[in-house]
Symmetry: D3
């Protein structure tokens, strides 16, 4: 249940309104990396997260704060768009907001595209969702930085600095939550990747470009067990793509094993009892993770 308090989370002042900058700000109101996208992504992830009530709380804490940010951004935009109402030249800066919206904000981005839920990344797999959120906060941070780069208005800078700061706050919190799940690196979901093939870095783009972009090497070809493999087209052997014969084993799920699985896996129910039967490489794929729950113990209910 939601409650609205008639107070902005951050005071909004604009010294010199600028219609075209107001239009740019719409990116953070109704744009792909904007506040509604953040609010909806985290909130709905939270509603879906019935297996881990602590992280559910985190998702709803931040999702709710983003709603408050949406209100702040909206207030800031309105102050910049004021001239749309009375000035024809200003109106040309955003005819859609002027003519269809009477100068008020709406869920458009800076080019008038209506907000769409296609912007959201929600999988129902908790650690995956946290990764999507970390990336989303990074994107929102850089968008606020670019907006800051395009204004000299002190009041506007003040508000944008606040909003930009909070993206880093949230990035920290989501990162801490991901760490607290204690998943092994590159372990996503339940099924294991095929050994061998998983470590082949495929060199799909080759040659010398006119801009000095030649075939380069980097740590991404040699870290985490990776090694480079050349395309047959380029004289290499290509990927070792002989038949795989079924799925590989399953990975441990960390502390998520305690609750109901957020995946659709038919193995999920069986997991706490015995080895799943449809897995061809056998139960050895299950590598129970003795330390799971360690950090989870650091979490305690705190009623108010």
């Amino acid at each position: 249940m939601y409650h609205h308090v008639k107070k902005l989370m951050y005071t909004v002042n604009v010294d010199t309104p600028n219609v075209r900058f107001g239009n740019m700000l719409l990116e953070q109101f109704g744009g792909a990396n904007g506040e509604l996208a953040a609010a909806m992504q985290y909130t709905i992830q939270g509603w879906n997260c019935v297996d881990d009530l602590a992280i559910r709380d985190l998702l709803l804490d931040i999702g709710t704060e983003e709603l408050s940010h949406l209100e702040v951004v909206g207030a800031l935009i309105r102050l910049h768009l004021k001239d749309l109402k009375t000035n024809r030249e200003a109106a040309e800066a955003d005819p859609l907001v002027t003519i269809a919206g009477g100068g008020g904000v709406n869920l458009y981005n800076s080019q008038g595209n209506a907000w769409t839920a296609d912007y959201l990344k929600i999988t129902g797999e908790l650690d995956v969702d946290l990764r999507s959120n970390i990336a989303a906060e990074a994107r929102a941070k850089i968008v606020y930085e670019r907006l800051l780069d395009h204004t000299d208005d002190p009041g506007t800078i003040d508000t944008l600095q606040f909003l930009m700061t909070r993206e880093i706050t949230h990035m920290k919190a989501f990162s801490a939550a991901l760490e607290s799940m204690e998943k092994p690196p590159f372990s996503i979901g339940f099924l294991k990747p095929t050994p061998g093939i998983v470590d082949e870095y495929f060199n799909g783009s080759t040659g010398d470009g006119s801009d000095g972009d030649t075939d380069m090497r980097g740590p991404w070809q040699t870290s985490f067990g990776l090694h480079p493999v050349d395309s047959e087209m380029n004289g290499g052997a290509g990927l070792s793509v002989q038949d795989i014969d079924g799925t590989e084993g399953q990975e441990a799920r960390g502390k998520q094993d305690i609750g109901q699985k957020a995946t659709t896996s038919p193995f999920a129910d069986a997991l706490s009892q015995t080895a799943p039967s449809t897995n061809k490489s056998g139960a050895s794929g299950i590598d129970t993770h003795p330390s799971a729950g360690k950090k989870a113990a650091a979490r305690s209910k705190s009623k108010k």
Copy 2:
């Protein structure tokens, strides 16, 4: 420049075609986390990445491989959709593909929504794009796992296991590339967050839910300098939201400083020479990162 070789990157066999499963597979052809989305996201990021030719190569290597995966998924779907052409009941499983497409694949997801570039996350800020890619690979991995959970067909399992495996390969490579940039943790872009406010974890969702979802605590409230702050609404002091008075200092950019900036920042050009002037908290905000370039040295051109 692209070249197509008339060979699938992985052999596709289907023992028992299943129209409704073919329809589900469309998620990875024209869906939000599917192969075209991956191919376009990485490839276009690569084309935009003119500052770091090594990571540009990485992005094009993987972007090109995803195009080859798109072809593999398309071939797999076609084998499953065969009955659409001759069987009325089958046709009802996907009337759009049947009636409009004659039983062939097209860029729709499993519910017939046309693929849209709104799925893509491309910011032109290299480390941010790498984070988006890591999250994208995690999502694609879990989607393949769910598809594996819904089929018993050996040939199909074989192909899906290959494709799922490669997502982990790419996740490793993108992670290695991000590490190689040696950005300090939670450092995104150029402008610093406001100290103090950045460490306040705001408790925006409180109370006792009927499903046991009470106000919880976790490491995300105390890690990385964070500390919890209660909403005024809940008897707390709220965020310390007094005016901020301009942007905070700038962060070092790591080795990206060498090339042209991928941000729109007006400070960018000035950076390699002198302290930027518009920054209110002064040049002290620049914390040159002596070790930048260390790992970069590990990269060497390798012409073929």
Copy 3:
């Protein structure tokens, strides 16, 4: 600023989950007339409504309640979708939610279309927005009724009946607000329609249909000054469409005249002082409405 309380506004119970019914319920979560559409439409109208702080409050009261309803509908859907996670046949009821979403809710409608802000009707003209809201509540009511018609599950019926009821509550409140503005009937905005032409009901569809749909007459051809006019094509004189020579006079705006106009009209600023100058038919177009503000007096601030 928003606060979330970990309690649903209405208790949700489902006796017998039904995946296909859960899919239908998505209409009210991410559909065109669903709870997010309502929440966003009223809330953003409220943020734009700076001229009438009382109706702004109304819009935010109801917009906030709709957010709470979104949470209730989401909880109800989740209970119905449970089987998606483990049952292949169930999964076919909504492959998008199953495969991409892991069985969790997302902002799709019952056919998997992503929610879009194109659903919203926000003009920034207060009485027009209230009319859009009255119609929106009527649509939401009938959608809940149809959902009720398709389920026998007592718990589900219980929740839907609650949500359906609240749509009528809101319809009452918006109607009362519109009445309190005391606009003359068919008076929208500021500029008057052209006399004569405004009263011509044009008979654009004629003849005898095979289904008994002949050319009919009704009160809509003779009420409010209207009279029927036949198309020339049909032997009539057609509309009296000789040139109009400029805009007609302006209408009074009711009590909204007190505040800043939510229209883009250049006349707006001038209105409280003198007759606008660009209006060709002169100041006589202004018909000041002596009773404006009468009902407005019935509103009093009530601080808590």
Copy 4:
């Protein structure tokens, strides 16, 4: 069946073409509240309305007129866009129309968004559709007014005044049609709202805002049986949300009862014979409306 006459419904003259104003005018060609949206909404409602052939005729009369308006708006825009073809600076006013469209009109709005049927509000419930239409006409009127506010061109003003006038005509006609249905106030569809809960006005937004937006009271909290209820969060009792135990009774449908129902209700067929059986509060929910059909008698067939 449609016929096109090579004559505009209103003569279009433009004295001084203005490309940027032409671009604004696209709102009424391919925009959310434009003429195609109106034509399609009313026409398709008419095709769906097989229960009331008189109102079906009304919907088709007006739907057809809106098609003629679409043609008028298109002609007006073309005259304004003339310079797009030969003038580079003009071209920048709308690159999409210039480059992709060769300077011709297309179904875009003023920001180049393609028209979408998501703009339409069609429920198949006659009185609800009429309410949506009344609101749609009000929106279209205010959009024309704003366009009039942004041009000084006499010929353009002349045409826009005509089009704006007709929106009021249609608003009158739809209002008369709704009145002729003689539905009790706030009676939508068939199922009754829950007494008690339906009259609780929930105060979801509270407190003192910095812009003077405090917690206000208005007639919308006390009209039509409503009374204010404070949120628990705010020290109030909240909504009386105890379980409802099934749906409430049914409402009469007015004269629509005579024909086939446009709802999906399973009760529909039973209605003209006996009390519906699945309704828990019994047949007393049916309140036959003796005067239904009274105004309907005022309608007579008029063949030409």
Copy 5:
């Protein structure tokens, strides 16, 4: 100006309604190749075609007929969807139409996607638009054929056969119109392609596929002056892509030269007088077409 006659262009009978087939039929109501797409594409092309009033008439003749077809398809669908209103299982065939639309038609395709103007192909270049229309009619024909393949209902077959037949009629008419323009083959617009490069068929896909799809040759590599060129990647010389140094000469425009150009070309106005000046290869690029207008003479005004 449009007029509607209350008579379907073709009588619609359905012997055995089939909800799932009705859902498939939506492809031709609100789908990408459906009747609204056809009506809008041709009608708007006609409104834009002010240079050739005869072909403008053609476009409006057929555009208007497609509107009448839209009405026929809508009537056919409604008869098939009847059961949606009362039958729960039927409702699952199209929950969107059932729940949101009350069983009536709306501008969706068979998977519930809202119609979008993105389906339209309108360039404002007459011969190009005619080619788009010929292809559109071919697509619509094959879609009707597939619908015929999925029904045994005699009444439905009857109506679909009529509609399918008319697509061929329109294909003939558009083809005749294109021929009447007497454009040389492969002459589009005004600027000539670069000789040499225009005749190089590039072999971008090579090798032996497992399905027998090897590198093939066909007339498309040797007709119309074409000759095959191998990719450098494949040991060939690649395209002869040395710099081109400006645009090539202009082509004659056929009879369109008489009227105003539908292109944005700055050369357009100059064309009837002298050689354009910005063209680097000189006026020799203009190859006046002596026979232009020959077939045009076959057109005569025929007033009724």
Copy 6:
């Protein structure tokens, strides 16, 4: 399988960057007739084309070349957009690319609309797809011509001339492929149109317009067996729309009969053996085409 070579297919130089022109160029990157649309349309058609491996090769040759063009256009745009990064006024030319994209390209058109697969025309019926492709190439050619008309930059002209030229190359190749199929004129698919009705040109738009647009006649009313028919509304007899009684006969499919049909027709399998049984007008509808395969013989495998 795809391979990327780090070399543009055509060298890109820009003498004087122009941000607004760069924005226009986005039409050919992420626009409706742009290079991604071409690449995806032909490539996916090729993947679906399993019946004619020669034309499959053609589709993949050209589809792959279009991917290389996408890269060229992207490089050209980036050079024009350079100023977006550092110049505020430039940024206003495309706020979406500036703020959300950091000055890099993305799959938007010139008005910021995200690319959508709704742009694609893919039916799985080979000759129909070739017609769609011919029209698509014609559209792409005219769009490049318009871009050429709006720039004086020599380097830009050079690149655009190359790209424009290749559209004509592809138009030639697709036309040759269509001819090689030796389909009779106006023969689409399998089922025949109804004789008589197929030849009636319906005069749906009549009268005298103010712009001289009267009811015209042209070859499209008398070619290919067509003859004009006046609307009843206009005093004519209308279409001869008596009942048709089932589908007409089937047409021969040309050389496609050899392979598996790309249509959903249930008759398809039966075709090579005996007359289909469900066709009411009997087997005489099959008009075997003795010359089918003649030109097909001109195709020979050519392995490299």
